[in-house]
């Protein structure tokens, strides 16, 4: 039996295999958009034929980050804002894994924004799903980096004086090679985009609009939305950096005017992912690091390096 025999199993995957069966009920509120992400992720995995044991989900903290409590793959529920560095290393250490990082808008665009920029810049081969509900949910409704200007909360009683962050433009500028936005209210598109993102070789960022029925009642429930790929009104080339950038600016402006545009905004194929680059430079092995501990083969020793000091 090999060390990682759960990887690359050639069989039909049923989405229900991703229901863990340990944690019976999600603690999300009724009507929460987070259910849609869970559903899309399960469906996407089944669509592309990934088995639960070859997938690692890494989450931050918050309602969103409970995702992997309800998703039956390998999971690492980490700390606020830090899922990306944990996920990046997991993928580098075992390139055969399918690594999905997830968190909320506070988690990913606030405390974890620096990791977001650098993970996108380095173009790690992984998927990053940000549950964007424009609010801090689990800490009971504070203003988040994506809350609209003027939004009032207990921590911003006179209204938010900051303009919201532009996650799609940020991802693109930083160097992500797949950037999309979908919404909880569009499950068919969501599942497609999640599947595409997972199959993409490089850093795939999905800004997933998820309504918060408890703390952000004022916010749109992200309907009606327009799928830019299905619309004749929007014509741009998803592989063209400049056109994608202009389109994203439009999309990000319109969000706060009440027009929800979703779809793929940038898809760049062919740029080698970070891991692939490192392998080409001879700085990283192709096989999982842990494989060698089990194989117990010839190990280099430091005495060869020490001899240089004699």
């Amino acid at each position: 039996m090999s060390t990682f025999s759960a990887i690359d199993q050639d069989r039909e995957i049923d989405r229900e295999e991703f229901t863990p069966g340990v944690e019976p009920q999600p603690t999300w509120c009724p009507g929460c958009g987070d259910f849609a992400v869970l559903k899309a992720l399960k469906g996407a995995m089944a669509d592309i034929g990934r088995s639960p044991e070859e997938v690692l989900t890494v989450t931050g903290i918050g309602c969103s980050s409970k995702l992997n409590s309800y998703f039956g793959s390998y999971g690492f529920h980490t700390i606020h804002g830090r899922p990306l560095p944990v996920a990046r290393a997991a993928k580098l250490a075992n390139p055969d894994l399918e690594v999905v990082a997830a968190g909320g808008d506070g988690d990913g665009y606030g405390i974890g924004a620096n990791h977001f920029l650098h993970s996108a810049r380095e173009n790690h081969d992984m998927t990053y799903i940000v549950f964007n509900n424009e609010i801090f949910g689990l800490t009971k409704g504070q203003t988040s980096p994506t809350s609209p200007m003027g939004h009032t909360s207990k921590t911003q009683p006179s209204g938010n004086a900051k303009s919201p962050i532009r996650p799609l433009s940020l991802a693109l500028t930083a160097g992500a090679t797949y950037v999309a936005r979908t919404a909880a209210t569009n499950p068919r598109q969501a599942q497609e985009i999640v599947a595409e993102a997972i199959e993409h070789d490089g850093f795939a960022h999905i800004d997933f609009l998820t309504q918060c029925p408890t703390w952000n009642k004022d916010a749109k429930s992200y309907v009606p939305y327009t799928d830019v790929q299905d619309s004749d009104e929007y014509d741009f080339d998803v592989s063209d950096h400049g056109e994608a950038n202009a389109m994203m600016r439009t999309v990000e402006d319109k969000l706060y005017e009440g027009e929800i545009l979703t779809g793929r905004f940038y898809v760049e194929d062919g740029r080698p992912s970070y891991g692939q680059k490192k392998r080409e430079q001879g700085e990283m092995p192709a096989e999982p690091l842990a494989q060698r501990y089990f194989e117990d083969g010839e190990w280099e020793r430091s005495i060869d390096f020490v001899k240089k000091h004699t």
Binding site: M1, T78, I79, R82, Y293, S302
Partner: protein
Amino acid sequence: MTQDDLVWRIAGGSGDGIDSTSRNFAKALMRAGLHVFTHRHYPSRIRGGHTYVEVRASDEPVRSRGDGYNVLLALGDSFARSTEDEAYYGNEKLKPLAENLDELREGGIVIYDEGMLDEDDVADLDLETRAEENDWHLYPTDLRGIAREHGRDVMRNTAGVGVTAALLGIDPSYFETLMGESMDGDILDANLDVLSDAYEQTQEWEFTHDLEVPDGETEGEQALLNGSQGIAYGAIDEGCRFIAGYPMTPWTEVFSIMSKHLPKVGGIAEQVEDEIAAAALALGASHTGAKAMSGSSGGGFSLMSEPLGLAEMSETPVVLLEAQRAGPSTGMPTKPEQSDLEHVLYTSQGDSTRVVFAPANAEECYEQTRRAFEVAYEYQLPAIIMYDQKLEGELRNVPVEFFDRETHPDPGTILSEDEIAEAAHHASGTFARFKRDAEKGISPRSVPGQKGGRHLTSGNETNEWGHICEDPENRKDQVDRRFSKFEHIAEDLAGDESLVTRHGPADADYGVITWGSQQGTVFEAVDRLNADGQSVAALGVSQIKPFPAPEIEAFIEGVDEVVVVEMNASGQFKGLVQKELGAYGEKLSSLLKYNGNPFEPREIVEAVENTAAGDRDAPDDATTFVPATGD
């Protein structure tokens, strides 16, 4: 002096090649059969600024920088374009000469570059008078002139080595060989010419001193390396294959060595955006089954507080390094201190479950890094190695055969897929990752990609399936289980004499306790005290957590009084001893030093002599003596 030693100091500006020249000088003496030890003093700037390195050499093993030095090679400053021009750091043209004279021992030698200093400058120093009073022997030489004749100004350092070799009776062929190993072409030829010219010229002088390099013979082939190299090589041999970090002095050296070597042994090195990310990456790699490490110095380690707590809660093995420098905040980046002890022991929220080592020298750096990985991966918790700027850069000779060890390609407590199949599972197929009844408090783990091992790992308190759980009974059980690891770790570590090292007579009257990088200096001081008729024993502690209470208690019980020696202002280790043992306030006094320089043996000698004489004064202005509370 209990040993026949020679301490050579090379001083100049940063950028003068002080580091490489001193490294070669130490290597030459090592190859000549001597034990060597270096001490580096440098400012926190890239070029310019006064810097020096001392190389101590003896026929017996050397444990510290010693007290003062006896040969000064004062280079000018490379940025003084001519004697009329101002030096880069202002007009202090005499700095390499003037700054260093106070610590020159009686009978010492001064070699200075008369090509860069005119007579009037030297006269300002009153050098002749001081030389007469201290029996110093002055050898002004036109080092720059020799360098210019055969090559470039910067080869003044080679000229200085040539002069030193002639004055001290060192065979110049050692230097020729070393130069041949590191240079080639015209540069090598020019340097060889500078060396031989300087050597030949000096041979013709009349020598007034009677210092020379001691004769010695070391057993077997020796390697010259520092604490950082010890740590890196220990990590590699123990199977570390992943490192992530962010540059910060003095941790950067380990990071650089690992970045250079890890890809050669099939590992991965990552420089990332900050220290939070660095430690988080190490956890990510460890989670997938790699032996992983990260590290930083004080300020960067503060950022690692979050992932450190996550490692404890999620029971993810990892090794972290903490290379101390003078703090708080950015403090003094290039100066040593031992003031991060409490930071390392207590940082991050909650009750901590971490193991902490503080090695004494390059060999212990190697050993204890291996130990740290072993403990971290067997017990699934973070292990931290504390060292400091002193240990980071000080070179010493270690027999090459010391490194002739077995590697350790064992994945720790990661189960094979066959073993996972036999282990407990939930009806749903979830693996019981944190099952409570495991031996030694350890729950064997699976890693992503293994069949049958899927589970959730979390930074929240969880039940045995890894799912978030706030049930009071479960909480208590899990905390107790995690804490129960410590009694087993303490048993595993007990009896390792490199972790708690006793030095000196068994029935001593006085005791000195120290930890980390000061152990060698304290041991040398204790040897000197005993040679002078005192009765003193020392205890060097490298195992900080789990705290070796029985060994330390027995040591304190066995002597009348104890001086705790450490490089900080608040007596942090003494505080830890009293906290852990709950007693001995009346018996423990502190000798503290926090001016940016490590202890010298004479300070400890004097402090113990004072204590024995009932005198509670500090030995000098650089140190502080805090008497026991019973005084």
